[in-house]
């Protein structure tokens, strides 16, 4: 067996061995040439790289695509997790955004309230909201200012931006503000710029509906709603909000005041509207006894 093998190897073995030896020799010579004349062989290397690597491109593209596919797959696996993380972060961001907005509004409000002058002739009294109605069916807040501060029933109450409600019930140190959203609230209003007169009726919803519009066709969503001086309830021109249309086609007011956060409210002193009682006396002198008392006018308006 062994002899046979050796006999077989006689044909092919030496040739192979010779070939192998030649190959090794050639490679060694290549190494030596490289060591001796490095720049030439390095140029050769550059040429080989230049020829081979671009031709690899054809193969490399699908391979790269496959690798990218797997990488994408890995990232797809993490997509749900990433999504959750992003959601959490978004939530935090929202909270921060909300905080920023609130701070901005509060800042604006406080800046506005800083104009408070402690003068009996001042135009508004600022109070802090102590409590709300405590009932889901009554929309009112309690202020920490009352008769002690000269408040009277019927005076308008605003936050820094828009009308909030009116005083209804004054205690010695507190007063209740019936909000515009309360179902008992009826505020005469003017829709700008069309000048339509209307009534803002609270109905326990965040956006009170507008009723008794004279001509609905010229009222568009987005119009400004301001208070009217009708009935001597409110000073005219206080911003209430903007007209909006609900899905049922009913006009409503999107209130300008920030009802989410009623914190500081200012009560506008209203010294009553001058009322013409007799045809002859067009202009009533300031100190005349014919001047109606504000409390009386408010009581009248409430009826």
């Amino acid at each position: 067996m062994a002899k046979e093998r050796i006999k077989d190897d006689d044909y092919i073995g030496p040739l192979r061995r010779l070939l192998t030896a030649v190959v090794i020799l050639v490679l060694t010579v290549l190494l030596l040439i490289w060591r001796i004349d490095s720049p030439r062989v390095e140029r050769l290397r550059a040429q080989i790289t230049d020829t081979v690597v671009p031709s690899f491109d054809i193969l490399m593209t699908p391979l790269n695509a496959t690798v990218n596919l797997f990488r994408d797959f890995q990232s797809y696996q993490r997509v749900v997790q990433q999504n959750q993380e992003l959601r959490r972060e978004l939530q935090q961001m929202k909270a921060w955004k909300e905080a920023a907005l609130q701070l901005e509004q509060e800042n604006a409000r406080l800046l506005d309230l800083n104009k408070v002058r402690l003068d009996p002739r001042l135009t508004h009294v600022t109070g802090v909201v102590m409590a709300d109605s405590g009932s889901p069916f009554r929309q009112s807040v309690l202020l920490n200012v009352g008769a002690r501060d000269g408040l009277m029933d019927g005076w308008a109450t605003m936050d820094g931006i828009g009308l909030v409600g009116r005083i209804s019930g004054v205690g010695q140190n507190t007063s209740r503000v019936v909000l515009l959203t309360d179902s008992a609230s009826r505020i005469p209003a003017i829709i700008q710029p069309s000048g339509q007169r209307a009534l803002v009726q609270g109905d326990n919803s965040p956006a009170p509906p507008i009723s008794f519009v004279e001509n609905r066709d010229i009222v568009r969503p987005g119009d400004r709603v301001v208070s009217a001086g009708d009935g001597g309830v409110f000073p005219a021109g206080l911003l209430i909000g903007q007209v909006a249309q609900d899905p049922g086609g009913r006009l409503r007011v999107r209130l300008a005041a920030d009802y989410e956060r009623l914190e500081f409210l200012r009560v506008l002193r209203s010294h009553g509207t001058e009322v013409i009682t007799d045809p002859g006396a067009l202009i009533v002198p300031q100190d005349s006894p014919g001047l109606r008392q504000p409390g009386a006018s408010a009581a009248e308006a409430k009826q």
Binding site: T20, V26, L31, L44, M60, V67
Partner: protein, 179 residues
């Protein structure tokens, strides 16, 4: 007796070259540009040795030289040195394969491991003789141990992929010679 067709022989030779190219390709692929902490094992050497032990006719010295010298050129190694070493290691294994086929796998593995270590040693020796800058010893050790570790895997995979196994006594090679 199983007579292998010439087609299979040339197919396997082409397969060897193709595998070598693919390995080079994968190494060249623009994946990460960070320096690798663990150098990849030398798949070309593992495959060459596995095939040289089993079917010497599939890995002629010229094919080995072509693949490894191309790798030398493309991987910025001193050209020819590693190729010459791998070719001589494969040639040695080709002569030993006949005896190794009757022995358990771990003997073959040990043989291959010793040859790989010897080749790396020779590489470092020649490099230092020719004053060629060398890779850090620790990385070389990691690489050679990795290559030794993947050797059984390469054997199993080449058996699974191409049905490559040790020749049995009395089997004829495609040229009609007894193995």
């Amino acid at each position: 007796m199983i007579v292998q067709s010439g087609l299979r022989l040339w197919g396997m030779r082409a397969g060897y070259l193709g595998f070598g190219l693919v390995v080079i390709l994968v190494h060249l692929m623009p994946g990460t540009f960070m320096p690798a902490r663990l150098p990849a094992p030398d798949f070309i050497m593992a495959l060459t040795f596995a095939w040289a032990t089993r079917r010497p006719e599939y890995v002629p010295s010229i094919a080995i030289a072509c693949v490894v010298v191309l790798a030398d050129f493309l991987f910025q190694r001193p050209p020819g040195l590693w190729a010459a070493l791998v070719v001589s290691g494969a040639a040695f294994l080709k002569t030993r394969g006949r005896f190794l086929r009757d022995l358990p796998f771990w003997v073959e593995w040990l043989n291959v491991a010793i040859i790989m270590l010897a080749l790396h040693l020779g590489y470092r020796l020649v490099s230092s003789l020719l004053m060629i800058p060398q890779a850090p010893l620790s990385l070389t050790i990691v690489q050679v141990s990795g290559t030794i570790m993947i050797y059984p895997l390469v054997v199993v995979l080449s058996y699974a992929a191409t049905g490559l196994r040790k020749s049995t006594p009395g089997e004829l090679d495609p040229t009609g010679h007894r193995q």
